[in-house]
Symmetry: C2
Subunit: 108 residues, 2 copies
């Protein structure tokens, strides 16, 4: 009935893992698990939608195209406006970092 954000954690994470927890035409909620991974492999995320991201466990750094760098730890959350080019430039190599990402339309 309920599901748990810690479920199905792989012991060895070869690549960054992404699960869609909820999706309709207004919203998409994702769980992303990384351990030392950075993304995207090259270039920047340039998203149509707004994103609200929170770290559930672990730590990671988001780099914006304008040079701004934000290191986030457990409980930290950040709003990333649509088309704010960014990438994940660092995640803790020693443990899994669990991100919760909520994608939703920019206001019209």
């Amino acid at each position: 009935m309920t599901e748990n954000i810690f479920s199905s954690l792989s012991l060895e994470l070869q690549a960054e893992s992404l699960d869609v927890l909820l999706q309709n035409n207004n919203i998409r909620i994702e769980r992303i698990i990384s351990q030392g991974h950075t993304s995207p492999a090259s270039g920047w995320y340039d998203q149509e939608d707004n994103e609200w991201v929170l770290i559930f466990e672990g730590a990671g750094t988001i780099l914006f195209e304008d040079g701004r760098e934000v290191t986030m730890r457990k409980g930290d959350y950040l709003h990333i406006p649509a088309h704010a080019k960014h990438k994940v430039s660092w995640t803790d190599p020693d443990r899994q970092t669990i991100w919760l990402a909520v994608h939703y339309p920019a206001p019209t």
Copy 2:
């Protein structure tokens, strides 16, 4: 730049606490902190919007009008469709329970 979901926690929580972390015309993300509180005081929540709720710390029980009862613990998440009448029937009296609630429009 970032904010933290654990910030501004009161040491003594006389009433359930609700903070809006993000709001636009498509979404509302709230942090709710309870400790032994139940809500609403009487009757049921009957919401226009869908709600996706996750427990960040602690434990709580959601009772639906149809008698279904869901006890949630750290990391558990639950989808509550619009107009599914429900209430928080129990929260852990011994520690603060931190809920993350994402309200978003039902699909049209």
